[in-house]
Every structure is written in structure tokens, then in C-alpha cells.
Subunit: 430 residues, 3 copies
């Protein structure tokens, strides 16, 4: 069953991989419609171009019909239909013949990675360009090259999606991921597919204390626009947030802290990783690079972290065609999903419990304590007693777990037992 | 004189050792009357059985007339009158003959410590049982055994004692120790005899700033009952408390912190131990096991720590007949007493002094400073100057001592000198 | 130009070196008049003897016409006119003949430093005495010695100077240094000459946000008197202060923290030293010894630190005639001046900036960001983005610099650029 979920997520990634995504355009729409079939709560929004959002405004919509280069030998290379990374994002339309020398000014490749097509965009400066492997580029011979880019940059819409799964409380957990990356797998299809699996899992829970918000946006401008529309509500309700990115491979785990560094999101993510993947790497907010740049910015200041495998910018395939479906795997996706689920299971129960009696309660008469006192008695009920001892109404379950040195997920059942026995109470509004 | 105190305490322990104590019964009464002869302020209280106390109620009273086993050879073994550890605490009355096989279900011994009689109780589940050395147990031959337990478990009283030595202030230092352990020496006769010595020493002081409360109770239920009767007063007045236990041997010192970990009690105990027995072992509250479990529980939350030698559960003789009078010594008791006295001397003077003048006062004209300034002058008056420098009304004497890196007891005289010279003042209510 | 400033400061030290200074007297006056010619804002104050100041009162004025010893051979030794360290400070007048044995009781030398004349004073106990090299002292032969001290200790004045350079704000930076040391160079002419250079530099700045106060006083009593006259204003306005002393040589830098240890003065000095002379030595306030004893005392409690080279009491020449002009140098003075200037440049701009927009601003359209996004883009604008990211109105520039791990002086230009682009704002009163 669990491996099924991994396979399922990997299948979604495979379906979504070829779709040509960018900040805007039909690739984003197709991606969101695909996800909507799997998350019924997902709403798709269309924002007209040039809509202001804080210091920004939404861009023109960009769509591409075809794009390629014809070599002096008549060969078609760098064909957008072969790989959508071949075209610099937001390239303007071009149909022109030019010398290799002139063409070179518009080519991008990576000498150190001769088989990789780099991922290059130029969203806010009108340009055109092609990306190709360095090997391919070096093989180009002098002569006349025909360049064809049939693209349209024109007023249209920026498309994004969001889904809210209400809980008993308005306190909210935010997941944000992005849908603007062309054909790359870890960065970024791992984020949307894990978001989708989490939304489906939460939807099926009998009872949710917290409200969950999933946001699928183009990076930067999408997040900025979304925040501009929901600033007060997000600031008021979000108790923890996660930027979902780069979580599909099977290398060492990593996490990036929020700007404040010790929010509830930081605490739960760090606790879960320390307990369940203790060899993980920690990055400070100085190493940020995804939409936590917006969510954690002054004036927004949400508690948003990322749990990742290979962090963006840190793995060799990053932002190239090498970040393909072979880099991610059902197991990688599934293991990351498990970590996120552990975080959510904790957040759902992360109350500040209070012991109902001064002094220790009499566990024995409730069947929670051995009745014969010997030298080793009490060892087995240590967790019960420690939880009761630190349940002073000032510490949440996470802090108690860390104080008594156990994994918080392992404490959840004890917590329920003590609630059921009226030995703990919760003073917060239900 | 000092060694006399050690001998005196050891003598009390010797007298008290054979008395058969338990949660209740005549052994507790006899013990408290013995202590009352040495602490005139000690009041003895009788609490009827089944009196409620928070989640608990006081138990039936238990007294034993005799208890033993007759072997198939007619030998009387495991005789309660030989050693009161032979009988499981709160054993119900029995007079029966049974096979060795049946008897074995009621026997307790420690294979790894073949010469030790273990200490076993069954306060809250009606049972009977005998404890014996493993060597003795292994020598038992098949056959019919006659078991005799002439005990009475019936409504009566739980007995405890307390003594309050009032000071000029209502701020209170609490000492708690227990009187429910049968014939064992370190855990627990060391606590009651050191408590007795401290009470006598405090009684003889000319002038006490603080009020001192000594509590002699059966463990757990005694402490819980006591707290239930004095909760508001304890919470209001206790500024530091000590659970007196396991302080009679001469092995490495140890301390167990309070639940909060940095109360005044923690600070004074840690300071005294760091300065005077720096090789001591520190235990967190997770290693608790005595009545600090009640005193520090949420809803009670008193600043209670223990200064110990060999901590309960950590020494091989713990809760066996090997914890006998050879384990404790006059020197061990005396050295522990000295540590506690140092804590009290500091607590008595632990004001937040305030310098009377802005800038340094002129020490020279008060004879507190050399009049000829040379390269080394000032070295000898460093303590005076440092105390004045940090006496800003926000730090207590303990914090100042730690800041200026001296033992606080060594600062008490300087503190008095500066008070007498009107260079320091105390702003607290007298 | 910069080396010129070092030479200029050294020249001032050379001019001031021979002047016979003490707590009071014409040497102090001559010194202050010399400084006044270089700091036009310097005001010179005369305080009558026996004026009370907190626990102290100002001393009689002391002036010396001549002082020497005539040996049995008729040789004049320990002549005050040769070196003013020969006479114990505040020596009473004497004209007497005595045996070597009697004379010895009034002589001071240092056996371990046989060529050094020690610096000895007796301000508050009427005495007389001579200081000489140990070599000289050992050469003294038995016989009759004539001692001549033509000094006057009589009601007069204590002289000190101060200069205030007003800024746009009343928030004030305090510099204090002393003018009571006879012919010694590092301790103490380095302080007054660097104070003079700083005052001149600040005077020439176009625009000062902060107010600067320079205080030139005799040590201890001068500082105490000054504080007694300005206590409320100093407490209200001083945001950072520096005791200028021992900053003229070229040995390892050191700093002494304020009593509180983490004031703005501590933070800026520590930051500048960590970034620019990372091998510096740190002393806690327990190692204090200059007028920070008064400025940081309880009841005054100003944020005053010292940035030094060889700290007083820690270098072999300290308080002897070996602390002469060869110990300090133009380079030593100049380098210390540079550190202090860095501190002031930071303090002038040390606002708590606030980002003007929620989310990141669009740097690209302001020419602050590359328009083509490639794998390495953003590296060059990291400082801009980090400053914006941490500009949440709660952190001052110093804290931001430490958080983002750059030297604060290197951030000042970026800070101005972002202010000019209306991307940062300052909420404090101008």
C-alpha cells in the first residue's frame, strides 16, 4: 500500500514531465487541470496580465508554438518539441538567418556538464535564446543558421491553483509548491506530486483539527501575487508552512530553516528529521532560494520551512536536463511523503496539555502502572510519567517530547490514553 | 565538635535502623517519636485511613506481629523478626501449608546479588510475599512449607511529622524526607538524621531571616497528602526546597535538578557543589525518583532539588539489605550536612544588594583600600570592589559570586562589611 | 594623508610628554590648553578643591617647584626636573637630611625591572617618596642624604576639559580619556591624542546624526566629579561610550567589555575587531581598571568599553618610565584611530531599517539585479537581498551584518542605495 503511493506519485510525475511549463501559459493550465483531477478541492485561478502585486505586476502570458534552429547542413536542432529546456523561457518570436558568431550570443550551455541542457529564463527583459548541450554546441560549424521561434508574449493570464481543506480550527498549515518549471523532475515535479498526495491523505482523514492550504503557483511572481491577495488571512492563521521542493530523490535529507529559525514549522521539521533521518543537512535561511523568500520576508513573516532531499543549487543536475525522471523515484517520493506526514500527525496533536491533578495521579488503579514495586518497576511507564510531569500547560507536545527525549510521534498514543483517562486536559479552544 | 555531629547522626541512624517502618503503622510512629525527642518543634499527625488527597486516598494501616516460613525440615526462615525486609510490604495475613512450587510464586530474590534480600512492597494490590537472598532460595528443597503471616491491614491512620522554625520572613526553605523505609541505611535513614541535625542547628541560630519547614512523611502518599493540606502556603512561601535522601555514604556527590532546572534551589545547590565538590554528578529531573516527583509536579511546582552521595537506583546496594549501616558513616553524614549548611548560609544572605553611591565609593578613607597606589595595589580588595560593582539591585548574591568567580560563602563576610559601612543597601522588605 | 594623521598624533604626544601632570595642578592646565588649540570646542573647567562629588570630594591642588635627593657624595639624584616620575605623586614638602636607612623607607624601585622608574602616587594619604631605577637604588652608599621636595598641596582647583559636538539627534557617543598621567606615552598620552584626532575628524564631517562628547579628566576623581555633574544627561543620552586608553603601540589589539557585556558599545567594538583584527584579546569587565569603573558602576551604568592595544597592567612597561615615546608610534596611533572611526561610521548609520514592501521588491527594474536568470545569478546581489530580507524593523544594521555574516562597514553603501531607492525605510525619529 505504501509502495503503491510512491508508485502513484511517480506516475503523476511521469505524466506531468513533458508538459511545457513557464510562469504563464497553457502548460501551467494543463498541469493544474491534471492535478485538479486528483484534488477535487483545487480551484484554478486566472489573473489578467499586468495586475499589480506589491512592487510587482503579473507578466504577459507566454506561449510557444514551435522553436528550433536549422544548421547550415539543414539539420533541425534545439527543437522545443524535443525538449522544452532548449528554449530560453519567455523568448520573443524570431525568424532570422544569421552567422554562427551572431547565434553564439544567444546560446547557453555548460562546459563542465557537456551533456546537460541548462535551464535559462529571461522573464523581465525581452530576449531570445536557445539552450543546448555543450557537446552539441561545440559541434556547430561556421555558416548560416536559421532561427525559428514562434512564440507569443501578449496580455493574457497568469494561472495558479489553491485548495483549502478546512479543519475544526482556523489555524492553518500552508503548503506551497510551484508549477512553472519545464521538464525537470526533482526541481520541480516532486513538490506538486507530494503536495497532491498530502492533500488526498488529509482529505481522507476522519477528523482534522487544523485547516490545510495548498498553493500551486509559478515561482516568485505567483507567490507574491498569492500573498498580496491573502496577506492578512495568512498572517493571522498560518501556524506552520512548508515550501515543497526538491523532495523526490533518495540522497541525504536536508532542511532549510525559516527566517526566524525557531518557529513551529522549524521545530516540527527539525524534530522529525533529527529523530527519523538524523544525518540530515541543515541550511540557514541565508541559503534560501525558493518561495520561502516571499513567505518569510519582512511584512509577511510566515513560519515556512522546507524539508528536502538534494537541495536546489547543491546537486549537480540542478536546473539542467539531467534533473529528469531517473533522478527521482517512487521510494524517494514516498520517504519524503512519510516525513511530511509525521510532521502533520504531530501538528494535529500539538497541544499544550495540562495535568489534571497536582502531584502524580494514581496510575495503578487505572491499570497504567504495575502494582508490585520492584527495583525495575516504573521503567515501562516512564513515558506516561514523563508526559504527565511536563504537562504544565506551558509546553507543547513537541517541547515535551524533546525534553523527555523521545520521538514525538511515539508519544501521540500515550497522549490520547492520558486524555481518555482524564489525566490530561487541553485548555485551548477546541 | 564537627566529627561529634557526624557520630551523633550515625548514632541516631543506628537506633532507628531496626524499627520496622512502612507507609503506616507503629514503626512510623516509633520513628517519629524518636525524632521528636531531638526536634522539640516536631509535631506528629495522624490521618485516618481513606482520607482523600488529590487523586489518591490514604491507605489502610498495616502492622505485623510475626511472619516466617517453616521449611519441610522444620527450620524457620525468612523471619520478619530477623530482618523486616523478609516480608513484602503490606502483605496480607496468611497461614497455610503449600508446596515449594506454589511458594515460589510468592518469593523474591536477586540472582545477580545472591546475598542480598530485596526490598519489595505491594501497597495498592493485596498480595503476600517473602524476600530472601538468592543463595537461601536456591537451597530450598521440594516439600511442604508452612507460611505464617500475622499481619493486620485495617482502617487506622497514616502518621507523619512536621516542624516549622519561623524566621523574620515568611519566605521558606522546605526539607522533606521519608520515614517509610524498613531497615535500610542510606535510603533511607540518612535523610531523616541529616534533617534532624539541620533542624537542631537552625534552632540554635541567633537570628533566622528565613522560615524553615521540615517534613517527615511516608514516600509518595505522605508527600501527596502533605501537599494537599498545604498547597497554597507552600506555593506562596517556599523559595527553595530539598528532598533529603541518600546522603550518608562517602562516594561521589550527585545532585538532581528540579523540574524547572534553574530555580534558586538548583542555583544554590549547583554553586555549592561546583565550588566545594566539583567532581559531583548531575542528574536531570528525568532521573527523579523521590518525592520531588510530587513537589515539582505541575500544579505544585516547587523549587525542590536533592544533594546526594550515591543516588537511588545508581548504587548496587540500593533497595536491598546490603544498604545497611556499613554503607553510611559519620564522615559521610557529616560532609553532606556541611554542604547543606553552606546552602543555608547563602540562602540566609542571598539578597539583591544595591550600591549606595553612583561610581565607586572612596574605600581608602574607610580603611578598606591601601593608600599607596603601586602596580599591584587593589589585588587584595578585588572582592570588595567586584561585589560593589555588580551590586546593581538586579542580581542576588549567588549570581554576583558566580559573575565574579568566587565561592559565595567566601563573600558573605565582605557582604556584611559593606552593609556595615553603608556602602551596600538591601531594598527588599526586611 | 592617513600616515600624516599618525605623524600628527605622534607629534602631539611628543609635545605633551614632558609636561608634569597629576590629578591637579598646572601640568593638567598646560595639557588642556595645548589640546584646546587643536579642538576649538574644548572647554576648560576649574573645580575648587573640596567640592563634594558623590562619596568623594576634589583634592587639594598639588604643584611642584623642585624635588631631588643629594647623595653623601653631593650628587643630585632622582631630580623631578629630569623625570617627573621620580617624585611620588602628591608628595608633601620636605627638606631634611637623613640616613640611607631612613631614606629607604621612602624609596620605590622594581627589582625585576632594574632600569625602570616606577609610577607611584599617594593621593589620599599625606606622604612623600621618590621613585628611581633599581640599579640606581642599589648603588646608593650609606651616609647622610639631603632630601628636598618643594611642593605645595593647598586648596586650589581640579582642572578638566570637555567638548560637545552636537548632531541631529541628542543620542550621544561618549569618549573619555585622562590627563593626569606624568611622562608616560601609551598609558596615557595615546588616549588624549586619539580623542583629539577623533574630535577633529567628527568636526569636519558634513552631517552628524549623533552627538559626540569628549571628556578629558584626571582619572577616578575627575570622572566621578564629571559624572556627578552630568548624571541624568549621560544616562539619558549616551548610547555608546569608549574609554580611550593604551591605544598607541602596535601589539595585539584587546578590548574590555562593559559591565553589562552586550551593550551597543560592546557590540560595535566586538564586531569591528572580529572583522578587522580577529586575533584581538577580549577582557571581561572583571579585568577593568580605567574610568569604565565609574562609567559602568551601578547607578551610572553607561555602555562604555575600551578598544586597546597592550592593555594596562598587561604589558611590561606599564606604569614605569619604560612606557615612553618609543613604545608608541605613528602607525600604532593611526591603526587604533581607524578602528574607532569604523565604530563611529557604523554607529552613525546603525538604524533598524524596515523593508518598504511585503515580499521581495523587483530589483531588476531598478537595475539592481541581473535580468538573465542562470544557475549562478543572484550571487552578486546576495548582500542587497540579505539586507532587505532581515530589514524587519527589529534588527539594527549591526545585527543584520552579523546575521548575514558580512562586515558592517561594507554594508553601509548598500544600505544607502536601498534607502535612496525607497526599498528601505527608517521609522525612528530623524
Amino acid at each position: 500500500m505504501d509502495s503503491t503511493i510512491g508508485e502513484q506519485m511517480y506516475g503523476w510525475a511521469k505524466d506531468l514531465f513533458p508538459i511545457p511549463r513557464s510562469l504563464t501559459g497553457d502548460g501551467v493550465r494543463d498541469t493544474l487541470h491534471y492535478l485538479q483531477e486528483r484534488i477535487p478541492q483545487l480551484e484554478i485561478h486566472e489573473v489578467p496580465s499586468h495586475t499589480p502585486a506589491f512592487d510587482w505586476s503579473t507578466p504577459d502570458e507566454w506561449n510557444v508554438d514551435e522553436a528550433y534552429i536549422i544548421t547550415p547542413d539543414g539539420e533541425k536542432i534545439a527543437d522545443y518539441h524535443d525538449h522544452n529546456l532548449h528554449l530560453v523561457g519567455y523568448s520573443v518570436p524570431v525568424e532570422k538567418t544569421m552567422s554562427l558568431e551572431t547565434l553564439q550570443e544567444h546560446l547557453h550551455s555548460i562546459p563542465e556538464q557537456p551533456t546537460a541542457i541548462p535551464y535559462v529564463t529571461s522573464y523581465y527583459q525581452r530576449r531570445w535564446g536557445f539552450c543546448l548541450t555543450h557537446r552539441q554546441r561545440e559541434a556547430l560549424v561556421p555558416g548560416e543558421y536559421r532561427v525559428v521561434i514562434r512564440s507569443r508574449i501578449e496580455p493574457g493570464y497568469m494561472t495558479y491553483g489553491d485548495a483549502v481543506l478546512p479543519g475544526r480550527q482556523r489555524d492553518e498549515v500552508l503548503f506551497s509548491t510551484y508549477v512553472c518549471h519545464p521538464s525537470m523532475a526533482n526541481n520541480e515535479l516532486s513538490g506538486p506530486v507530494i503536495a497532491t498526495a498530502l492533500a488526498r491523505w488529509l482529505h481522507e482523514l476522519d477528523d482534522r483539527r487544523l485547516t490545510y492550504r495548498f498553493v500551486f503557483v509559478p515561482e516568485t511572481i505567483g507567490a507574491i501575487y498569492y500573498i498580496s491577495q491573502h496577506l492578512e488571512a495568512l498572517r493571522k492563521h498560518v501556524i506552520a508552512g512548508f515550501q515543497l521542493t526538491c523532495c523526490g530523490d533518495t540522497r541525504t535529507y536536508s532542511m532549510i530553516h525559516s527566517r526566524r529559525g525557531n518557529t513551529l514549522a522549524d521545530r516540527v521539521a527539525r524534530h522529525v528529521m533529527q529523530r527519523h533521518t538524523p544525518e540530515f543537512e541543515t541550511y540557514s535561511f541565508l541559503d534560501r532560494g525558493s518561495d520561502e523568500r516571499q513567505f518569510c520576508s519582512p511584512g509577511v513573516d510566515l513560519p515556512v520551512v522546507s524539508i528536502m532531499r538534494s537541495k536546489y543549487r547543491e546537486y549537480p543536475e540542478y536546473h539542467t536536463s539531467l534533473d529528469d525522471l531517473s533522478l527521482i523515484s517512487p521510494r524517494g517520493l514516498h520517504e519524503s511523503l512519510q516525513l511530511y506526514k509525521r510532521c502533520l500527525r504531530i501538528l494535529e496533536k500539538n497541544h499544550r496539555p495540562q495535568a489534571c491533578f497536582p502531584c502524580e495521579p494514581q496510575l495503578g488503579r487505572r491499570g497504567l502502572y504495575p502494582t508490585l514495586s520492584t527495583r525495575n518497576s516504573g521503567q515501562t511507564v516512564r513515558n506516561i510519567k514523563n508526559l504527565l510531569t511536563y504537562a504544565d500547560g506551558t509546553r507543547d507536545l513537541l517541547e515535551i517530547a524533546e525534553t523527555i527525549d523521545v520521538a514525538c510521534v511515539d508519544l501521540l498514543e500515550t497522549f490520547e490514553t492520558l486524555l481518555d483517562n482524564n489525566l490530561l486536559q487541553i485548555n485551548e479552544p477546541a
